[in-house]
Amino acid sequence: MKKILAFVFVGLIVCSGAWAAQVTINATASQVLSVATANATWSVTLDNTGTAVTDSPVDNLTVKSSKHAYTVTFSSTDAGKLKMTSGTESYYIPYLIKVDTTGWGSGVSTNNLSDYVQLDTGKTIVFTARTPVAGKIFPISFKINEYTDYYENGDYSATLTIGISAN
């Protein structure tokens, strides 16, 4: 009887023994941040009659982001003006850009291009939500305001740069 009790006692003590191994699991979700336009070049004809020129939409902007907080920035050469150089002279035509993000109001906190604006400095759109993998598409519109003086005829150009960065 004593032996049985002793075994039970030892058994109970052993039963309380437990120990563990721990493994740290790190999963890294890769980052996707991209912007793209459907076309690399936009061609606009200005008839020099003084009427405004509007191309809406001139293109579509596709934004992809795996971060929920990010900013898309638009900037332009020559502070938002088309430029033509002839000899030693340079001629400029201010142009305006608009980006319509109303289709994704829940994902955008600030859009400084919601109405036509000249890119005299960089203009931003601040987002607050990840896009789907296919991205979100926003129409871009282009405008040259009406004018009273003729523009020097010829070919003008500007380079519009669109960037994206995580906040």
């Binding site: 023994g17 563990a20 493994v23 740290t24 699991i25 999963a27 890294t28 890769s30 795996s66 990840r130």
Partner: protein, 170 residues
């Protein structure tokens, strides 16, 4: 004579109970050669994050279970974040599966969810063993699976969880 010693001992015990503070002594006798080892204690999982490609590695790590002196024991898998890796408030479900490697265990393994397929550690999962392991232990592949979020990105960054495997006697 024996009775006299017994009475003396009893008196000493009683007097000790009167004058001494109580001290609780817990003694744990661990089974010999019992252990759980992994070939690596940090698993790094790269997620493609394209909304389509899942991650699955059926041998993310190799676990060795040793029980040299105990016939009946079980191991229990649990997760600090209940089966999710977390990054702040963002979390991703992951799934675990255990597979015996090359008949390395000679005893009986009772049927368990975590050996039947990938399971999320929303609660602890147990594998019951009947029979001691060899001296080198029984070896198991531990697999990890993470599903893609169809058409959606996971918030990019590093997600973490701690998985604990605990050895219990009985």
């Amino acid at each position: 004579m024996k009775k006299w010693w017994a009475i003396t001992g009893l008196l000493l015990l009683i007097s000790g109970a009167v004058w001494a503070n109580n001290v609780t002594i817990n003694a744990t006798v661990l089974p010999a050669d019992a252990n759980i080892l992994f070939d690596s204690y940090q698993w790094n999982i790269p997620l493609v994050n394209d909304g389509a490609t899942p991650y699955q590695n059926d041998q993310q790590g190799v676990m060795t279970v040793k029980s040299g002196s105990t016939w009946i024991f079980h191991i229990q898998f649990s997760s600090a974040n209940l089966g999710y890796v977390k990054q702040g408030t963002d979390k991703i479900a992951y799934y675990v599966k255990v597979t015996e490697l090359a008949d390395s265990y000679g005893g009986i393994i009772m049927s368990s969810d975590i050996m039947n397929g990938y399971v999320q550690l929303t609660s602890s999962k147990t594998i019951q063993f009947i029979g001691k392991t060899s001296k080198n232990g029984a070896r198991f592949a531990v697999g990890i699976k993470v599903n893609a979020l169809a058409g959606q990105f996971y918030e990019s960054g590093v997600y973490t969880d701690t998985m604990t495997v605990t050895f219990f006697v009985f």
